[in-house]
């Protein structure tokens, strides 16, 4: 089944690439909306300049996020038609609502926001960027509603050989959705925040535009700190949720073959031997896994062997162990990046409070490196979530291998995989080049000019429009 492998590679690569841009868009939209609000409230031109400077990155990023998202919507039908037939009734609905509720809102108001600077009253123009921000967050909600159905199917009945929706409220109150949504959104806010934090730190090291970037740093550190806390709390509730709803995923994330002792220890590092079903060389933190699971320091956790036995009794012979090493290490990478973020934000705010941030060059350097942390955390979070679900595409209902399009050949998938990868590589390079260019250029020196009031007969008037 070469097709399954290729279709999975395609889904993984297009999704992970798309998910570089989405969280950054969600986070930057919020931060820009906050900056513009400060401008409207305080009437300080500095905040207007900040809004405009940071929006350049937002717009470049948003454009790539949108175009890579179109592929996401259509590849279900292209590569996974059997899956689409099986769940369309219930999986398609949130996607359609996402388009209707979120995409129209985002794309209409971002157009009005970009082109409406001098055409709308200040407050109305400000409302536009907030609507964009709300649109990006709503979009995350609906896509996670769809994904949560794959993780934990709710609100359906099996009939006519398909999963048909019979309870929309159950789809929207899916517990998985309500642990995944805050975790993803806080992760996204952190992504935007740490981008602004890192770029600002670079300027502070160079001692250029110190006032401008100190203000940017303050706003983004606060957003980063609050997001970091949000990530930690929602991450804890997500882990607890997984323990009772997707125990196999958590057992794999722990490298736990046999049932744990009581109380259970959390494994920091270990060597996993999938062939012999052994995990050796553990470095454990005692009591920790019990606490993660039950919020108290006792209780044992089931291992993969016992869980697989239960699955075989329920679903028949087969292998039900997900890729253990990937799940195990992805989980650890995610947790470490999340914890580091929180630490960096807390320390940064402390230094800022003590007015030492501009001199702490070593720390500012760390903040620059911190730009990459949320991206790593986001990606590995998704890898853990989706790999840990295998071999299921819809947990307990449909296996991944049964979901592919029977009429699409490996060659066709390979062709699309190569062309998408090629164009994604080009887009990735362009984005980095543009980001570096606009970071180096910095905010405009002159106050932002109302160009519509420029006299075309003056020098620089008519010519100003021509780049």
């Amino acid at each position: 089944m070469e097709e399954v492998l290729l279709a999975r590679i395609q889904f993984a690569s297009t999704t992970l690439f798309h998910f570089i841009f989405v969280p950054l868009s969600i986070g930057l939209a919020l931060i820009i909306a906050i900056m513009q609000t400060m401008y409207v409230v305080k009437k300080d031109e500095m905040y207007l300049k900040m809004t405009k400077f940071w929006s350049v990155f937002f717009l470049i990023n948003f454009a790539i996020g949108v175009v890579t998202g179109i592929i996401q919507e259509f590849q279900f039908g292209m590569n996974w038609s059997a899956y689409s037939r099986f769940v369309g009734d219930i999986f398609g609905a949130p996607l359609a609502v996402e388009a209707l509720l979120a995409f129209f809102l985002e794309s209409t108001f971002i157009g009005i926001w970009i082109f409406g600077w001098n055409k709308l009253p200040k407050k109305l123009h400000l409302a536009c960027i907030w609507l964009v921000s709300i649109g990006t967050i709503m979009s995350a909600f609906w896509i996670l509603a769809a994904n949560s159905f794959m993780q934990n199917p709710t609100g359906y009945v099996l009939q006519n050989g398909r999963a048909e929706m019979n309870d929309f409220i159950a789809v929207l109150t899916n517990e998985k959705l309500w642990v995944a949504f805050p975790h993803t959104v806080f992760g996204s806010f952190a992504t935007g925040a740490f981008f602004v934090v890192g770029v600002s730190a670079w300027y502070l090291i160079k001692k250029r535009k110190v006032e401008f970037f100190k203000k940017s740093l303050a706003i983004s550190l606060v957003v980063g700190m609050l997001s970091g806390l949000g990530i930690a709390f929602s991450g804890h509730s997500q882990a607890q949720y997984l323990m009772h709803e997707q125990p196999m995923k958590m057992a794999a994330a722990e490298g736990l073959w046999e049932d744990s002792g009581d109380p259970a220890a959390w494994t920091l590092f270990a060597k996993i031997d999938v062939e012999n079903r052994e995990t050796t060389g553990r470095i454990d933190i005692p009591y920790m896994l019990s606490y993660l699971t039950y919020s108290e320091f006792k209780g044992k956790v089931q291992g993969m062997n016992a869980l697989e036995q239960q699955m075989i009794e329920k679903h028949g012979e087969g292998s039900y162990i997900p890729p253990v090493k990937t799940t195990f290490w992805s989980f650890r990478i995610m947790v470490v990046t999340g914890g580091t973020l929180l630490g960096l934000a807390a320390l940064g705010l402390l230094l800022m409070y003590r007015k030492k941030i501009t001199e702490s060059v070593w720390f500012l350097r760390l903040l620059i490196a911190g730009i990459f942390l949320p991206f790593i955390g986001n990606s590995f979070g998704w890898i853990m979530s989706e790999m840990g679900r295998q071999p299921w595409v819809v947990n307990g209902l449909m296996k991944t291998a049964d979901g592919i399009s029977p009429n699409v050949s490996a060659g066709q998938i390979l062709f699309s995989l190569i062309s998408f990868s090629a164009i994604y590589t080009i887009l990735g390079i362009i984005m980095v080049v543009l980001f570096v260019k606009f970071i180096q250029r910095g905010p405009e020196e002159r106050p932002v000019k109302d160009v519509s009031a420029t006299d075309p007969f003056e020098t620089g008037g008519a010519g100003h429009a021509v780049k």
């Binding site: 470049i60 948003f62 454009a63 790539i64 175009v67 890579t68 179109i70 592929i71 919507e73 259509f74 279900f76 039908g77 292209m78 038609s81 689409s84 037939r85 099986f86 369309g88 009734d89 999986f91 398609g92 609905a93 996607l95 359609a96 609502v97 388009a99 209707l100 509720l101 995409f103 129209f104 794309s107 209409t108 971002i110 157009g111 009005i112 970009i114 082109f115 409406g116 600077w117 001098n118 009939q159 048909e164 929706m165 019979n166 929309f168 399009s405 029977p406 009429n407 699309s416 062309s419 998408f420 362009i430 543009l434 606009f438 160009v451 519509s452 075309p456 008519a462 429009a465 021509v466």
Partner: protein, 338 residues
């Protein structure tokens, strides 16, 4: 009326809305090569659609999402069956979408030129592919008993579908020229008008060719002639009227005419399909009917409630966005984003 029929109509409306709105965006994209004489003109042309093209594209994304939710079998058959054409379409949308944003963000001439080409290719390929898509859809495709489609090259590409594709290209180009003449002033406006008059005969011939071949190469007239004959006659009358509006430079009316013609063509596709969503060339018994392809009633009910509350709101702010940017662009006084 069963809910599945309502959703068939809604999806028809979404695709039609897409062709009407993004149609002029495509035309405007083509005009950057055919109409603009210098960079400033190019920028003015692109900026006429600047605030709206992104939202216009969402009509397609919503149409796709609605197909997935309301007709999973239709969605699955179409997207897996048209695999390679869709890959090309998606690539075109990618380069086009980023080109608008990237174009003004670089300094070198090569940079700008590269993205100009991306805008052009990304604006000419999609209408062509959509024309091929809809014409082959009503021509019928090899769909088997399991609703899977195994189409070969000539199922997509034959005389009729190529005419359909070219008809969409020239008609959207005309539609875009009229949009430019509506949104600009002076030299550019009169040049767009002149170009529209030149394209008129060519687009008209393709329109007629398309209708003749629809008669000859599909069962559309045999099955739905009673509706299609008056509808196509109306399209020809409207297209005739366009001639006079063009001559009198009544741009608003001209633009409305090309818009209505596009709407009629799109409507005719869905009328030709009804009561099926896909027509099988293997065996009429394998035709996929609206009822066969549809989701469960509960799902359709929920979606109907969402659609009927949300669509008016979406339409309201969409109209408002056009109102905000109602003024013509002159290019010498304002800030051009792209």
């Amino acid at each position: 009326m069963p809910l599945s029929d309502i959703w068939f109509i809604l999806i028809a409306v979404l695709f039609t809305g897409f062709i009407f709105l993004e149609g002029f965006d495509f035309g405007v994209g083509m005009s950057t090569k055919f109409l603009a004489r210098n960079d400033l003109e190019k920028r003015v042309i692109i900026n006429t659609i600047g605030p709206v093209w992104d939202a216009n594209e969402v009509w397609l994304i919503t149409a796709g999402g609605a197909m997935f939710a309301a007709f999973p079998h239709w969605y699955a058959t179409v997207f897996s069956g048209y695999y390679l054409p869709f890959v090309v379409l998606l690539l075109a949308f990618i380069i086009r979408g980023v080109a608008f944003e990237f174009r003004g963000k670089g300094d070198s001439e090569t940079w700008v030129k590269t993205w100009d080409w991306a805008i052009f290719i990304g604006s000419i390929l999609p209408p062509f592919l959509f024309g091929v898509f809809f014409t082959s859809l009503i021509q019928g495709l090899p769909i088997d008993a399991d609703m899977n489609m195994y189409a070969g090259f000539t199922d997509f590409v034959n005389v009729y579908t190529v005419i359909g594709g070219l008809a969409f290209v020239v008609l959207t180009y005309l539609h875009g020229l009229l949009f430019i003449s509506l949104k600009t002033e002076g030299e550019l406006r009169s040049r767009a008008n002149a170009a529209a008059r030149k394209v008129y005969a060519l687009a008209g011939s393709f329109l007629i060719l398309f209708m003749v071949f629809t008669y000859a190469d599909t069962n559309a007239f045999a099955d739905h002639g009673a509706i299609l004959v008056p509808l196509y006659s109306l399209a020809i009358v409207l297209y005739g009227l366009l001639f006079f509006f063009l001559k009198k430079k009544r741009e608003g009316f001209s633009f409305t005419m090309t818009g209505l013609v596009l709407i009629i063509i799109m409507a005719s596709f869905f009328i030709a399909l009804f009561p099926n969503v896909m027509i099988s060339t293997i065996d009429p018994a394998f035709n996929m009917s609206i009822a066969d392809a549809a989701s469960g009633d509960y799902s359709l009910k929920i979606m109907t409630i969402v659609a009927f509350t949300m669509v008016p709101i979406v339409l309201a702010y969409t109209i408002w966005s056009y109102y905000v940017f109602r003024k013509r662009l002159t290019g010498d006084k304002e800030h051009l984003e792209y």
